[in-house]
């Protein structure tokens, strides 16, 4: 049964989007589909508001920090402020203490900046008028997961979403894939930056070698999938093709450049300059560097296709071919259906999305429009469990508020199992009710909902909040529970924890 007009408006805002702000459902009611389609724009999804550094600048900060680190040998554990180890290792040596403090400050500045950008993203989520574009962008950031679980990739999380993901989410999938895989966040998260072709000039000179982590995850998680029919030999060949994809090092800097490690006079010599020239690669966008001296020479064969000897473009050609394979279309059509509709989506919906993908040669705008047009996506029944992030953002939207500080936001996300920017593995955040509705997770959602309800209650009419946030998707049972609650905080808690609001 097709949804009523009122139901369609509620579905557009609460399922496709991030949840309704007060009055939003009424505003889109005239043309819910048109409201969604208008968010599919060639420029991609909007960036969070605020001034944040680009990758190139962040890379300079990271290199400077590493130079400080080289001058103050200490383990990562020593960098946790207040840790016993940090104090012991620098105790009694004023110079060492000062150096350690400087290093800690650099690290803290980058970490704070990343947290600030996470907050800006959450604030945009809480207030944007284009909730579908934002969810679509976050879906692709998760499909190409990088994570703050590693310090080096953590400091690039903000630039990564801004530079590699958001501009490309309504473009060709293969362009998105290239932008994501060549971003420092990814190159550092999956160890590609250090991979060296054993037979490359650099590989023959020193004891360094191949790291196949990125190649494997591209195959398994970003394109064709684990059952995509590739072998260990394909992984290794792809890893060889990707050698040279890297990030800047202190050696790439011109002498005297800020951010260069040390002021070693020997670094000015002719021989040193020659080595530096050979090591430095072509600079690319977003602090990507192709380093010819570590690229494994020779032709490569991946999934039966042979790629001529080359440089940066060799790995890129393999990646583009993988991005265009039918297994990739199928896998991502399914992933999209699971994310935007139900944990076990109807095969017909997957078929429809896959067909749109294939027909448009991976045009993500066409795929988005197909999802919007799919009847299976418009059932008014609330089914899909929200992630903790979406639960928190939609709560702010329902209350017409926005997160003001990052610390409580991060605490809430940690307790519910989804710490900021910190997917537990390259597979990204999980996406089913079994993953998010465990006993402990629900207890933590209830704890948070009660705290929020206590704060919001004086200024909120719970009945209006529930009606405004869910529109025609507010069920009679929940409506009555909210109306009959003994206090405003209780009413708001019941609404926030209701099946209709926990799901979408």
């Amino acid at each position: 049964m097709p949804p009523s007009a009122a139901e369609a408006a509620a579905v557009a805002v609460t399922r496709f989007g991030l949840g309704a702000r007060p009055g939003e459902i009424e505003r889109v009611a005239a043309d819910p589909r048109g409201w969604l389609e208008a968010q599919v724009t060639p420029g991609g999804a909007p960036n969070p508001a605020g001034r944040f550094v680009a990758s190139a600048e962040r890379m300079q900060q990271l290199l400077a920090y590493r130079a400080e680190a080289a001058a103050t040998p200490a383990t990562d554990a020593a960098m946790t402020p207040g840790s016993a180890m940090a104090q012991e290792s620098a105790m009694g040596d004023p110079a060492a203490e000062a150096a350690l403090a400087a290093r800690r400050d650099s690290r803290r500045d980058m970490t704070l900046d990343t947290a600030r950008e996470f907050l800006a993203r959450a604030q945009m989520g809480a207030t944007t008028e284009a909730g579908f574009a934002e969810r679509w962008a976050l879906f692709w950031a998760n499909a190409f997961t990088t994570s703050a679980t590693k310090f080096q990739s953590a400091v690039f999380m903000g630039p990564y979403e801004r530079e590699a993901i958001r501009p490309h989410v309504f473009g060709k999938f293969e362009d998105l894939a290239v932008a994501a895989e060549q971003h420092p966040a990814m190159l550092l998260y999956l160890d590609q930056a250090q991979s060296v072709g054993p037979n490359s000039q650099a590989g023959q000179r020193r004891n360094a070698g191949l790291n196949e982590n990125l190649a494997r995850e591209i195959l398994e998680l970003h394109t064709v999938g684990a059952d995509g029919g590739y072998s260990q030999a394909d992984v290794t060949e792809f890893a060889r093709a990707l050698t040279g994809w890297s990030t800047p090092t202190p050696r790439d800097q011109a002498p005297g450049d800020p951010g260069m490690a040390g002021g070693n006079p020997a670094g000015q010599g002719r021989r040193a300059r020659a080595i530096r020239a050979a090591m430095a690669g072509e600079p690319g966008e977003n602090a990507f560097v192709f380093r010819p001296v570590v690229h494994e020479p020779g032709a490569r064969t991946v999934l039966g296709r042979t790629y001529a000897p080359g440089g940066r473009e060799q790995g890129e050609a393999v990646l583009r071919d993988l991005a265009r394979r039918p297994e990739t279309a199928r896998r991502l059509a399914r992933k999209l259906a699971v994310h935007f509709t139900v944990d076990d989506p109807p095969p017909a919906l997957i078929d429809t999305l896959e067909a749109a993908w294939t027909r448009s040669d991976g045009d993500l705008a066409a795929v988005a429009r197909t999802l919007i047009a799919a009847p299976e996506a418009w059932s008014p029944r609330p089914v899909k469990m929200k992630t903790p992030y979406d639960f928190i953002i939609s709560t702010h939207r329902a209350l017409g508020s926005s997160p003001a500080r990052v610390q409580p936001l991060q605490q809430a996300l940690i307790s519910m199992g989804q710490p900021a920017f910190s997917a537990p593995s390259p597979e990204g955040w999980p996406d089913t009710a079994a993953d998010w509705a465990g006993p402990d997770a629900l207890v933590k959602r209830l704890d948070w909902a009660r705290a929020v309800a206590d704060l919001a209650a004086p200024a909120a009419d719970p009945n209006a909040v529930a009606a405004g946030a869910l529109g025609a998707r507010l069920g009679e049972r929940t409506r009555q529970f909210v109306a009959r609650a003994e206090s405003r905080p209780e009413a708001l808690t019941l609404f926030l924890m209701s099946p209709e609001f926990q799901r979408r």
Binding site: N213, D440, K444
Partner: protein
Amino acid sequence: MTRSFSIHRRLLMGAALGGVSLAFAGRASAREAGRRKLVVIIARGAMDGLSVVVPHGDADYVPLRGSLAVAAPGQAGGALDLGGGFGLHPALAGLHALHEAGQMRYAPAVAIPVRVRSHFDAQDVLENGGEGLRQQDDGWLNRALVAAGGPSGLSIGAQTPLILRGAAATSSWSPGGQVTGQDRIAALLQDLYVEDPLLGNSLARGLETDAMAMTVGGGTPLRRNDVNGLGQAVARLMTGEQGADVVALSVDGWDTHARQNAQLQIRLTGLDQVVGGLREGLGEQWADTVVVIATEFGRTARANGTQGTDHGTASALLLAGGALKPGGLIGDWPTLADNRLFEGRDLAPTLDVRSVFKGVLRDHLGVDRAALDARVFPGSAAEAPALDGLV
């Protein structure tokens, strides 16, 4: 799945209608069985077995590993001697002391039955107990709960891991809850969730577990990074009348593609402290406890170019606990000789990890052999018979 789904649904409905009290249904029969305790720790990310159970007596170890090799016992930073050419990583001092007391055993070269190098595929197989990829939707530890006639299960963390998902209702916990099951809101929500049994049952069990943790722990908040304290808190949830019998928890961060030595030092120290916390917290119950530490696969025999190792095949499995039979080594050592390496690059498995799991389930939890072969680990009867003499 149809049959188990209907059982699941009935259980969930029962719990939803009856409020929070059914959360630990089935505990009575577990008590009759003698309150055996089992903790399964999954080291996610592929723990490097060659650094955990160090084969310092194997002549190929140091040449393959170079600077990643752990020194032999007696040398500076050397392994802790296990005898027979093996040593334990120096960060595992607590587990080594248990070994000396006959309460720690090690299998140096186990693997799951499928040869894959994807973390996620391999973790799925390790946890769902299938003989191939994507064959089961639930976890073997959950099926073992059913087969053992009702010991109670608990997982640590906001998300229930696959190993403990399935027909038997289990609980989960992590430090920090504030709402109690006695609160009015808890009863109201049970009522509100009458048509959403997943949410209703899940919340009921979460609240009950939290109430337990508060009772036995006195409500002392756990400090971040206090791994020993976490082990003790988990142990508290396992003791007393209401205690969980079977616990699954995960320790992350083992994917050491680069700078492996420093990372392993931190991870293994944490692992050692978790086990130490469990032992301290379980007190007398430690005598009835088995702790299993397993990972999805091992890492390459050779160091890679970035002071780390890549995805491999066999890895080490550790058992600890007062219920173990003394014995040390489990299974054979394949050696690191060039012609013995799996595909010329990985430590070759000599033992199917399911054999160890089955041996523990049979001799510790009393799961009968037919159930193990037919339901808990389908298709494993011939390929992975239960290992004798562990417990």
